[in-house]
């Protein structure tokens, strides 16, 4: 499994209130949520993001609320992976459960800039920055997790393997 796209770069402590503000949580329609993704930190994000694009951030990405709407809106907007130095724990679980790939890799988080074109090979965890010609080693995704992501999340994966 591979991903290729351009990078949107953010700092420390990107919280779920800026990923998807509560004023939009009267809906859980994924497309509608995606149209508001990142609005309070980057109003242009939802208009600009292309399928395959990635988010790279520093420490504690996804802190705050337990809203699963946050990883869901990013995935639906086309984000292929979030790379960060660290993730907040509820976001981490939620992202995996809905099938949004995430990688903790401090070196990549520091060595990738906004707009860089990045390629990720989930089989071996290699993160290649095509723009800068640099490479980083993240954790490889175990087979079951890749299957879970291909299935579209834990529920589909569980139903498929019943």
């Amino acid at each position: 499994m591979k991903a290729l796209g351009h990078v949107f770069k953010y700092g420390d402590n990107v919280d779920t209130d800026v990923i998807i503000p509560a004023r939009y949580l009267n809906s859980f329609d994924a497309e509608e949520l995606a149209s508001h993704a990142m609005v309070d930190i980057d109003p242009e994000f939802a208009g600009k993001v292309q399928p395959g694009d990635m988010i790279v951030a520093n420490k504690n990405f996804g802190c705050g609320s337990s809203r699963e709407h946050a990883p869901l809106c990013l995935k639906t907007a086309g984000v292929s992976c979030v790379i960060a130095e660290t993730f907040a724990r509820i976001f981490y679980r939620n992202a995996i459960n809905i099938g949004l790939p995430i990688i903790e890799c401090p070196e990549a988080a520091r060595g990738i800039e906004a707009g860089d074109e990045v390629e990720i090979d989930f089989d071996n965890g290699r993160i290649y920055n095509r723009t800068k010609g640099t490479e980083f080693q993240g954790q490889a995704f175990p087979e079951f997790m890749q299957e879970l992501i291909v299935a579209g999340g834990l529920v589909n994966y569980t139903n498929r393997n019943k």
Binding site: A22, N60, S66, N94, L154
Partner: protein, 426 residues
């Protein structure tokens, strides 16, 4: 190897003699909770897994975020969980008028107790650690799985031990203590870990103070916060809860990643500045700055909307009026607290001072309704998060504070020292 309190509860719920940090376990759940934001989203996921909830006495639904419903979509969401609660004959569904903010109503109604393993699709589910339970926030898929199976996998957390010593001063309460702690360790200072509160200073903290402290463990990134069970806990449980409970204590040789000592006597009234709960400043630092003029004050929420919080705020507001440039919303966290405010004359004090008193709801805390802010406005709030745009416009600013500091600021029109406004101590 010894276990922490959290590890002991998890081991017992996983049917294991012992567990250690990093171990993956499958644990049985005593309470599974969702609200009107996370619940409706969980239902279609739940239905893919099961027809009936695993136990109608252990699955709890609380419509509290957008209630009383603010628009048609939120009304549809509340309707969905209301109908589900009826269909599944849930014992614990809290309807408007008999309800409150989830993390205030569950302990008050006796739904949660010591020694339990609890999940809730709301990040502040960590509140119940105040009663000596393992309790953590999860997302929608996890809560759906919990509703269907009564089990969930966990990674056993390592721990930070907080040794609380001494006695907090007048005008210092749970909120000041937890903002002080988050300021010290940072908003990711306890990432993935449990915050285990210990020490002889705990006997000087009310159960409401402990709820406030455990509630904000998530703001340091923690999986849970937990207090030992003492006489005050047992008194609280006797009054509120009919369930049997179990007391777990940490082993003498439990392993902690870090030990932090806090002298409660040295904690000052403390405020978290925008845009992180860890941007802690003491009232003395604030008084040395230019006055920070404010537009709004919110006193309420799962953090600080309980009876002792409202008594403290009322003691300061009594005989005063709210500054003409400030709007104040007081939000008792449950109907029972609301009624108690009437009985004790607190509602008169709030209304006479010029506060709006709202019905129990999460409303203003997450910019939902009943107190949304415009661009450039500043709010002193007893809630738990001051992220960008949390209470409304992205250019509004939130200062997190105790009920005492919030009440003093409402009178002054700027962030003010409650020690100087005074009022009867409660």
């Amino acid at each position: 190897m010894g276990m922490t309190m959290t590890q002991k509860i998890l081991a017992a719920h996983a049917g294991l003699d012992s567990v250690e940090a990093g171990q993956l376990i499958m644990a049985k759940l005593d309470v599974v909770m969702a609200n009107d934001i996370t619940g409706p989203m969980a239902l279609p996921i739940f239905r893919q897994m099961a027809g009936k909830v695993f136990d109608k006495d252990k699955v709890v639904l609380v419509p509290d975020h957008f209630t009383p419903n603010k628009d048609i979509k939120s009304a549809e969401n509340s309707k969905a969980i209301r109908e589900f609660a009826r269909e599944q004959e849930l014992s614990w569904y809290f309807e408007q008028g008999k309800s409150g903010v989830e993390h205030a109503i569950l302990p008050e109604a006796g739904v949660v107790t010591a020694g339990e393993c609890i999940i809730g699709a709301d990040s502040h589910t960590c509140t119940y650690g105040a009663l000596g339970a393992f309790s953590t926030g999860v997302g929608t898929t996890d809560v759906s799985t919990g509703m269907a199976t009564g089990e969930l996998w966990f990674k056993v957390p390592g721990a930070i031990k907080f040794v609380l010593k001494g006695k907090p001063g007048d005008y210092v309460s749970g909120k000041d203590i937890i903002i002080h702690i988050i300021g010290k360790i940072g908003v990711d200072g306890a990432l993935y870990k449990s915050m285990e509160f210990t020490g002889d200073g705990i006997e000087n903290l009310s159960i409401d103070d402990r709820f406030t402290i455990a509630n904000m463990a998530i703001e340091a990134g923690a999986k849970n916060g937990i207090f030992p069970v003492d006489g005050k806990t047992e008194e609280y449980l006797k009054e509120h809860c009919k369930k049997e409970y179990k007391v777990y204590t940490a082993d003498e040789d439990a392993v902690y990643d870090q030990i932090v000592e806090i002298d409660l006597g040295e904690v000052r009234p403390t405020v978290a500045f925008p845009h992180l709960p860890g941007n802690a400043k003491t009232i003395d630092e604030i008084e040395a700055m230019e006055p920070i003029k404010i537009d709004q004050v919110v006193i309420g929420s799962c953090t600080n909307g309980r009876m002792s919080d409202l008594r403290k705020a009322a003691a300061i507001l009594k005989g005063h009026t709210v500054h003409p440039d400030v709007r104040v919303m007081v939000v008792p966290a449950t109907q029972k607290i609301y009624k108690q405010c009437i009985a004790e004359g607190l509602l008169d004090i709030f209304v006479d001072a010029g506060c709006a008193v709202n019905t129990p709801s999460c409303g203003p805390c997450m910019g939902g309704h009943m107190g949304v802010m415009a661009a450039g406005e500043k709010c002193v709030s007893t809630t738990n998060r001051n992220f960008v745009g949390r209470m409304g416009h992205v250019e509004s600013l939130i200062y997190l504070a105790s009920p005492e500091t919030a009440a003093a600021s409402a009178i002054a029109g700027y962030i003010a020292n409650p020690e100087k406004i005074g009022g009867d101590r409660v």
